[in-house]
């Protein structure tokens, strides 16, 4: 089989898959929309989970009391509003807020006199995550307030030096990880649905009985799936770059790694579709694969910070290398112990091995008349 014939097969399989996908709008829409849904849901989760809503009852209007509230606000741990004691009580009972912090009436006077001041903190402790946030953040706010209001009395200071050239917010960091998961999901969905469709419709026999290389068929399937995956990828990247405002420091790196990871996960999708052979099984399988891999591949910080067992799993997950590469492309720093060359080699190797495995599985399992 000549190179020309191989290329002809790749082009024909890709073109047929694109046409078939466009003629089944439901699958096309699902394939494009699910990754963007995934991105938005995770971002909403990240935004809502970062700060706890609390009410402050400001019984003392003095300048120190005001500075204390300002210190709490600066901690970026709370969404604060001031209210009356009665409203605050009603809100916490109704579950509208996590805590009520009451600044007592003699706050300023007591501090001026050097007396102890008790700041009542009422916590709705139904969720230990939020509860612990409050337990950590209120004492930190008190420390910050003291350092600001009475600098002579606070003699221990942290002297910070940064490894990275600039800070990166939690949301921009997480958004980049979610983009990678979104690309993986888009590629897995399109690849697996395109491969499973031929089994489901019986047209796989037309492919299996053709005198062509199985690798050419697999590459054609990947290329055909890449069109809609690219549409999905553009949407996901567009939301992150244009709406959330996370601008890549190295745009060419973003494009290069986006193409590489789409190829890697398309190959995995085609393999999954070849194995499950049903589109209705391929879609949940793609979603179910991405979620655990996402959490185990260092989405919130470097993968090796996860601990020994999750870290070991992260080390064999291609998503780990994709996230590390994308964090570098967007934020310009290395989040993993390996460098970009290793990320590139791992993702390229993963793609090649998966394509070969798909060809092997397609050839071995064959089809029945």
């Amino acid at each position: 089989m000549s190179l020309r014939h191989n290329l002809r097969v790749v082009r024909a399989v890709a073109a047929a898959d694109i046409r078939l996908t466009l003629r089944e709008p439901l699958f096309a829409i699902v394939g494009v929309v699910i990754p963007i849904n995934f991105l938005l849901l995770f971002l909403l989760f990240a935004i809502s989970g970062g700060q706890a809503p609390i009410a402050v009852v400001l019984s003392d209007q003095g300048p120190l009391a005001e500075r204390f509230v300002q210190a709490m606000s600066n901690s970026q741990s709370f969404i604060i509003h001031t209210t009356s004691p009665a409203d605050a009580e009603r809100e916490i009972r109704a579950g509208a807020i996590v805590a009520v912090v009451t600044v007592p009436q003699d706050f300023d006077a007591a501090l001026a006199a050097g007396r102890r001041v008790d700041v009542p903190v009422e916590i709705n402790n139904l969720n230990v995550d939020f509860t612990n946030d409050i337990r950590r953040a209120v004492p930190l706010s008190i420390t910050s307030f003291y350092a600001d209001a009475f600098p002579d009395q606070v003699v221990v200071h942290a002297v910070e030096s940064d490894v990275q050239a600039h800070d990166t917010g939690y949301l921009p960091y997480l958004a980049v990880s979610i983009v990678v998961a979104g690309l993986m999901l888009a590629a897995l969905l399109q690849g697996s649905v395109n491969a499973a469709r031929d089994y489901e419709l019986g047209t796989v026999k037309e492919l299996a009985l053709a005198p062509v290389s199985r690798i050419a068929i697999g590459l054609g399937k990947m290329l055909g799936s890449a069109a809609l995956t690219a549409a999905s990828a553009l949407l996901v990247l567009g939301v992150v770059i244009l709406l959330i405002g996370v601008r890549p420091l190295h745009p060419l790196e973003v494009i290069g790694f986006a193409l590489l990871m789409i190829a890697a996960f398309l190959a995995l999708g085609v393999l999954a579709g070849t194995l499950v052979r049903r589109r209705q099984q391929a879609i949940p399988l793609a979603i179910a694969s991405v979620l655990p891999l996402f959490f185990l591949s260092g989405p919130f910080g470097p993968a090796n910070w996860l601990g020994p067992v999750p870290g070991a799993i992260a080390a064999v997950s291609p998503l780990t290398y994709a996230i590390a590469a994308f964090q570098h492309a967007f934020h310009g720093y290395q989040t993993a112990t390996q460098d970009l060359t290793v990320d590139t080699i791992v993702l390229s190797g993963f793609t090649l091995v998966t394509v070969a495995l798909t060809a092997f599985v397609f050839g071995r399992r064959g089809v029945a008349h």
Binding site: R8, A16, L20, L201, E206, L209, A210, H369
Partner: protein, 312 residues
């Protein structure tokens, strides 16, 4: 060029402990229409899968058009045209798109492709529908299109799975005509069918396989003759007794005799002498109300060789 299109030598195929094909040997000559018959689960599909290179035998040899299956499966596929039972057409693409896709897979030269597609579609009376989606086609049209596709790369060997399946009388006849034309052009045709009239009309030779074994291999007429040359169907009143049936069965030239409610079916060979003796034996014991004489059918041969129990 070898005169043998397909050669199976001592082929066995096992799936775990289940033996699907058991030491099967047969030869299909170039240019003949060869039928593969057998009940469901008899091993037809497994045999075809091995011939088309989709499956490998556990032991034994398969050569197609002189090519060793294990050595060069892709080369075999190039010379093989296939019409699978469920057509395997992309229903959401047009007839023409399906054909062009096939042409790409089989590397049919682009030069002259348009003309080849047109002439084949005309032959199948589908030219007017070339731009229509296959999902709008009737069962017979899809079958004809699948045949056109299989012929697009001009195969030396055509495999047609159940040609008459799900098509009306006109389409069936049109398909049979196309298959017979292929034979005239020297194409070897392998068909599997459960429709014995089809096998009778089309096939030069038939292989009947059951439980993975070859149980008969001959031309349709020879197979029928092996079952006797005449079937006598008689209506009697009252029904013939078991003694009478046994006496008839013992007559020289009687191949088989079976009685059911007020009817008697006797298969004989040896012409009118035997027929006369059978009729005499019947009228001596009961009243013969009606008698019909005909040639044995392939279905009778088939049932006698494979039994009457249902297969799944």
């Amino acid at each position: 060029m070898t005169e043998t299109a397909i050669e199976l030598t001592g082929v066995t195929k096992r799936f775990g402990s289940f033996t699907a094909i058991d030491d099967l040997s047969l030869r299909v000559q170039r240019g003949e229409i060869f039928g593969l018959l057998g009940p469901n689960g008899s091993g037809k599909t497994t045999t075809i899968n091995m011939i088309s290179g989709l499956s490998r035998p556990t032991s034994g040899g398969v050569r197609v058009l002189g090519i060793d299956l294990l050595a060069e499966p892709r080369k075999i596929r190039r010379s093989l045209g296939t019409v699978p039972q469920e057509n395997a057409l992309y229903e959401e693409l047009t007839a023409e798109a399906n054909l062009r896709f096939h042409a790409d897979l089989f590397d049919v030269p682009r030069k002259g492709l348009e003309q080849r597609i047109s002439s084949l579609l005309q032959l199948a009376q589908l030219e007017e529908r070339r731009k229509s989606r296959v999902s709008t086609f009737s069962g017979g049209m899809k079958r004809r299109l699948a045949l056109v596709r299989a012929l697009l790369h001009d195969p030396e060997l055509l495999y047609f799975d159940e040609p008459a399946l799900g098509v009306d009388v006109q389409s069936r006849r049109a398909l049979w005509d196309r298959i017979l034309e292929l034979k005239e052009r020297g194409t070897t045709v392998l068909i599997t069918t459960n429709y014995l009239e089809e096998a009778n009309v089309l096939c030069d030779r038939l292989a009947i396989i059951d439980r993975g074994r070859l149980v008969a291999l001959d031309s349709p007429s020879n197979l029928r003759r092996s079952f006797g040359d005449t079937v006598l169907e008689m209506r009697t009143r009252p029904s013939p007794t078991e003694d009478v049936v046994a006496r008839i069965r013992a007559l020289p030239g009687v191949v088989s005799a079976t009685a059911s409610h007020e009817s008697l079916k006797v298969t004989v060979e040896g012409g009118t002498d035997v027929t006369g003796k059978v009729v005499t034996a019947v009228v001596q014991s009961t009243s013969l109300e009606e008698i019909q004489s005909r040639e044995p059918g392939l279905d009778e041969v088939f049932l006698s060789l494979t039994g009457k129990e249902l297969r799944e």
